[in-house]
């Protein structure tokens, strides 16, 4: 029973993380680090909650969150491609701006009640003992987050559009000479990623961390940046990382009664792990691949997009 409850909590607690991690993965696959994740998630958490509160429809809140996220991403994309500014600089400034902006604009929404996302048990299959309760008795946004994992994998690996986005993130010049509109692809990947980040923000304030308060989603944006790397830019592994972090959170809450220090430090664990993964990725990329057992590579390796974080070369059309 305890075990069962823990899984249920982890799955619903990880909902926004999954969505955000996949959004950031798509963005980074197109070659753009959306460093504004921390700010984007926070301000879309506010806009999601505020619009949900005003209209009393949670769905409007989710759409508002997505719109907020995509506007910010479009802005980054414009600065990156049209103005040829440093995407990291723009993302960083936007993070700080959005955090303070959400704290200022959100003052009227602190600790009030808005629309609530209710659980939706899928008919028939939710009646299956244990499994039904664990996997098929969640809110719609949680089902969406679970479905998003295979969908985004399929999108990035099997569709033309997804492959073009990846090509633009790996080698813009080669992609461009193959007739791919690199600028468009990069913009598209960034905006889709931003919209998902926004949706994640809204699912914090409308579902897993219901409501709004000052710096409501603090540090989640930085954590998802770490989880994307943990996931080696692969949606399935990234999702596993997000669930892993959800489990850490649950453990941290449980540990609170035992030792205060542990409960404060456990949620920081993804960061050192991120650094080790990055070192390992670079290490196996340099040495001969077959030196390592295959399962180790598939767990710890990863395909960092070659052009990640770089400006497009001048001669890309």
């Amino acid at each position: 029973m305890l075990f069962e409850n823990t899984i249920v909590t982890v799955i619903s607690l990880s909902t926004p993380l999954i969505i955000a991690v996949i959004g950031e993965t798509i963005s980074e696959k197109s070659g753009v680090i959306n460093l504004s994740a921390e700010g984007t998630i926070m301000i879309s958490a506010l806009s999601g909650f505020a619009f949900g509160y005003i209209t009393d429809f949670a769905i409007i809140g989710f759409l508002a969150g997505m719109l907020t996220g995509s506007i910010i991403a479009a802005f980054i994309s414009y600065c990156d491609i049209k103005l040829r500014m440093d995407q990291i600089a723009v993302g960083f400034v936007l993070t700080i701006l959005c955090i303070d902006l959400s704290n200022y604009l959100g003052q009227d929404y602190v600790r009030i009640n808005g629309p609530m996302v209710t659980k939706f048990a899928i008919p028939f299959i939710s009646k299956i003992p244990i499994l039904g309760n664990v996997f098929f008795n969640h809110s719609l946004i949680t089902y969406f987050s679970i479905l998003l994992i295979p969908i985004s994998w399929f999108f990035l690996n099997k569709t033309n559009l997804g492959l073009s986005i990846r090509a633009s993130g790996e080698n813009p010049l080669a992609a461009s000479s193959r007739g791919i509109n690199v600028k468009k692809m990069r913009m598209f990947g960034t905006i889709i990623g931003g919209a998902l980040l926004g949706l994640a923000g809204a699912s914090f304030s409308l579902y897993t961390k219901y409501g709004w308060s000052e710096s409501h989603t603090a540090n989640y944006g930085w954590i998802i940046l770490a989880i994307v790397i943990f996931g080696g830019w692969n949606p399935f592994r990234a999702a596993a990382g997000a669930y892993g972090f959800g489990l850490l959170q649950v453990l941290a809450i449980k540990a609170q009664t035992v030792t205060l220090a542990l409960s404060q430090i456990l949620p920081l664990l993804p960061f050192p792990i991120m650094i080790f993964i990055l070192i390992f990725i670079q290490y196996i990329n340099r040495s001969e691949r077959n030196k390592f057992p295959k399962f180790l590579i598939s767990i710890l390796g990863g395909n960092q997009p070659e052009a990640l974080g770089r400006k497009l070369p001048e001669d890309v059309k």
């Binding site: 103005l83 960083f92 936007l94 303070d100 200022y104 940046l225 220090a261 050192p272 070192i279 974080g309």
Partner: protein
Amino acid sequence: MNKNIQLIQINFIRLVLTLAIIFFVLTLFGTSPISIFDSIIYGSMGSYSKFIRTLIVWAPISLASVALIYTFSAGMWNIGIEGQIIMGAVGATFVARSFFGDTIISPYVQILFALGFGGFWGLICGVLKVKGNVHEIFSGLGLDFVASGIVIYLIIGPWKREGIASTSGTDVFDKASWIPTIGQNEFPLLLILIIFVIYIFSFFIFKYTSFGLRLKATGVNEDAAERFYFSSGKYILLSFFIAGAIAGLAGFSQASGAYHKLVPSISGGFGFLSILIVLICSRNIFFTLIISFLFSALIVGGSQLQIKLGLDHSLIGIIQALFVLSWLILEKLKLEKILLSKIIRSNE
């Protein structure tokens, strides 16, 4: 000379445009920009004691900003600056809690430890970059959180206050460990001296030494640097070490000058703020000194906004970030050049 005058003119027009954007946004929020800036100026420089408070905030921000010039010159994004400030504060606290704590030399030993702890934390980032090819943004971000994890552990664990373990901070340091001040209003002479020494030192490094030149060459093009027979890796490592050490001093200032103890959020977000500052100063040391002072005045003056005008202090962060964002975009749009040539033409 003519070019310099034009540069000043362009920067001046850009400043006016940036302020216009900020005024516009503040008006959009339904606030009065004039009364906001009035209360900020009064709140940060209205009296001698307020001015001292501004100096105490200015010290860590100006130090962290000049630290970032080193890494930016080498073409590195030192997002790990927050962690370096935190570790500097840890170093200072370590000395303040040791047997040095109640002796008169404590602050000076703290300086050494802050330099060492901060430099070491910066160096990790550099080693990961040079030896491991890890993107400095990700390692920096990770090390920021690891550092704050260490602080939380120390505050709850080994350095906890007598009897209670809470996240409110360690015991207050012995008075001998506080940064020495002068006069009744506690003018922080030592801090101001440190700032000027570091700034003059950095000015000379970048202006007159081959080290400064090579650092900049590394930032422009790593491969070109190799072709001139010096290893860019060495310079990246050095830039991270120096930046970390100076940032460590900022942590020392926070722990022994501002709080007089170690608290979980010891860096106060000043590291990230310094990144904003350096972004608009384009590695100009003189500008950095001035802009960091203006931003500190904004912070100290902004703490009065709630009392005087009933406005949330987050407005200050909005003003700062908006300033930087507008500045960066205007810089790229090159509007000022067009404006300037129009003004000149109409004068002719």
